[in-house]
């Protein structure tokens, strides 16, 4: 069952088109990634789904409800972690959780959340005194305190050190394991690759691709490269093998370009002719490559 259905969202600010026909749906129990560089409409889309913004046109269903008309019933069942929001400096961790729990009809016990999110020893600490990672964990705990069916997490590892990011990823997997559908907005490829079941790739206000991370990478219409160094035996002709599109040799260094499963064919052929090679590497395609292939520009160049 789709918990979120978004059809043809459009939004303009003056002469700037922010959303240009966005459609996707999120299935129950998955971690759904919304990926793209900054300023491509990711956050606007999610804020429309949360009912914080209205699209100019298009339809949105969250758990079968309209997030504007049935706003309260939708917000009762979703948990949100927003980008760039803070709490009052002087609020204590337990006070924030207790307060947010009181906003919902059937909240979770916030003491459990304190334990789960490793904040038990920070119970009485003031928000302003928390580290970046602790604040982030508190925000996620606040997003979950209403016992939501869907949690929206927007750029939740921005500004965290690599160790804290890894820890956060493990926690997000636990959220899904507990049965909550997660919508994850991110501009980090590695994060999306690690966590998401499916990803919508945003570019210039459009969804340019929607697939599993592996599917996106496999779908790249470009050559892979395989490199090795000749050790012993005579080099054989590889150009005619299925999938191979080019072979270049410089001394003992050989680079074979190809598509699909060409690497298996190449290694089999080498083995059959008793050609020994070393330093065998096949460049692994990443979501970065997928993004370049989809949009014709590199991910990093846009932000």
């Amino acid at each position: 069952m789709a918990v979120i259905d978004v059809t043809d969202l459009r939004k303009r600010y003056a002469d700037l088109t922010v959303l240009d026909g966005v459609s996707f749906s999120v299935e129950e129990g998955e971690i759904f990634g919304i990926l793209g560089p900054n300023g491509t409409g990711k956050t606007t889309t999610v804020e429309c789904v949360e009912g914080l913004r209205r699209p100019d046109t298009g339809s949105i269903r969250v758990l079968g409800l309209d997030p504007v008309k049935d706003g309260r019933r939708v917000r009762e069942q979703i948990g949100v972690q927003l980008q760039h929001t803070q709490l009052p400096e002087n609020i204590k961790v337990w006070e924030a959780l207790d307060l947010y729990a009181s906003f919902y009809g059937r909240p979770r016990d916030w003491r459990e959340l304190l334990e789960e999110w490793g904040l038990a020893d920070k119970r009485d600490a003031r928000f302003g005194k928390l580290s970046g990672g602790q604040k982030q964990r508190l925000f996620i705990a606040l997003a979950l305190v209403g016992d939501p069916r869907v949690a929206f997490l927007d750029e939740l590892t921005t500004g965290l050190d690599p160790q804290a990011r890894r820890t956060t990823w493990e926690l997000i997997k636990r959220v899904r394991a507990s049965g909550v559908t997660v919508v994850l907005v991110s501009h980090f490829m590695d994060e999306v690759e690690e966590l998401c079941d499916r990803v919508a790739v945003f570019d210039r206000g459009k969804v340019v691709a929607l697939d599993t991370p592996a599917g996106l990478v496999d779908g790249i219409d470009a050559d892979h490269q395989m490199r090795f160094t000749l050790m012993a035996g005579e080099m054989v002709e590889l150009g005619g093998l299925p999938g191979v599109t080019g072979v270049t040799r410089t001394g003992d260094r050989v680079v074979v370009a190809g598509r699909g499963d060409f690497a298996t064919a190449v290694t089999a052929e080498l083995a059959r002719h008793h050609v020994l090679v070393s330093d065998l590497r096949i460049d692994k395609r990443t979501l970065d490559d997928a993004f370049v292939a989809l949009t014709g520009r590199s991910f990093g160049s846009t932000h």
Partner: protein, 231 residues
């Protein structure tokens, strides 16, 4: 809603600005109060006007603009609770703070300093309510227009001093140029101080000035509501 009020009250007591709003007018009262004549009708109305002015023009707008700047209002709109609840709670708490500041001043003046307290309770309460409404309206407009908490703080302070001068809180109105004193009487803070003084002198506050303050309260509140942004 109750929990929201309790948490906001706790936060207010942890806010140094709230303590200052209580202590600054008290300090002024005690410093000048030692040399007042019995039956003085000037100093206590001045101290009360300063107290309500500080809360309305400084604390209220700074708090609200900071809440918006930090995305607290926006975060709240993603929960089943409307962010307007937070504004209402804040307004009520700041009103309580203004009341507490005035009660503290009256208590200290009435006991330690042996100052004159007015007998007309009803005109006093009426003046307090209308005057506070006018000053809070100005504070709300500042909160609506200021892009962030620091700006609200700056505008509040920048507005407070000329308004305090015009209101005769820096020097007595009879030592001010006549025209300035006349203009000052029709500013929110000036009208408030003048009406309080009328009450202290045992009379009724001028209906004209009460009307002026009520008009400020209504017109400026409407403008604040018109310009207020949630994010």
């Amino acid at each position: 809603m109750t929990k929201l009020a309790v948490v906001e009250l706790k936060l207010l007591t942890r806010e140094p600005g709230a303590i200052f709003s209580l202590l600054i007018p008290l300090f002024i009262l005690v410093v000048f109060g030692s040399s007042i004549e019995p039956g003085d009708t000037v100093l206590l109305p001045m101290a009360l006007a300063i107290a309500v002015g500080l809360v309305g023009l400084y604390l209220l707008p700074t708090t609200l603009a900071t809440y918006r700047e930090r995305g607290i209002l926006r975060r709240l709109s993603a929960t089943p609770v409307r962010p307007a609840n937070l504004l209402v709670v804040q307004l009520l708490l700041q009103l309580v703070l203004a009341l507490a500041a005035c009660a503290l001043l009256l208590a200290v003046a009435g006991t330690v300093l042996g100052a004159h307290l007015p007998t007309g309770v009803l005109p006093g309460v009426l003046t307090f309510l209308v005057g506070t409404a006018a000053l809070f309206a100005v504070g709300l407009l500042i909160a609506a227009l200021a892009p962030n908490g620091r700006a609200a703080n700056g505008i509040g302070v920048l507005l407070y001093f000329p308004m305090a001068y015009l209101a005769g809180l820096m020097q007595p109105t009879d030592q001010m140029p006549d025209i300035v004193a006349r203009i000052g009487e029709y500013t929110p803070l000036g009208a408030f101080r003048q009406c309080l003084r009328d009450v202290w002198e045992g009379g009724a506050p001028s209906p004209l000035l009460l009307g002026v303050m009520a008009a400020y309260a209504v017109v400026i509140s409407i403008a604040a509501a018109r310009f207020f942004r949630w994010e």
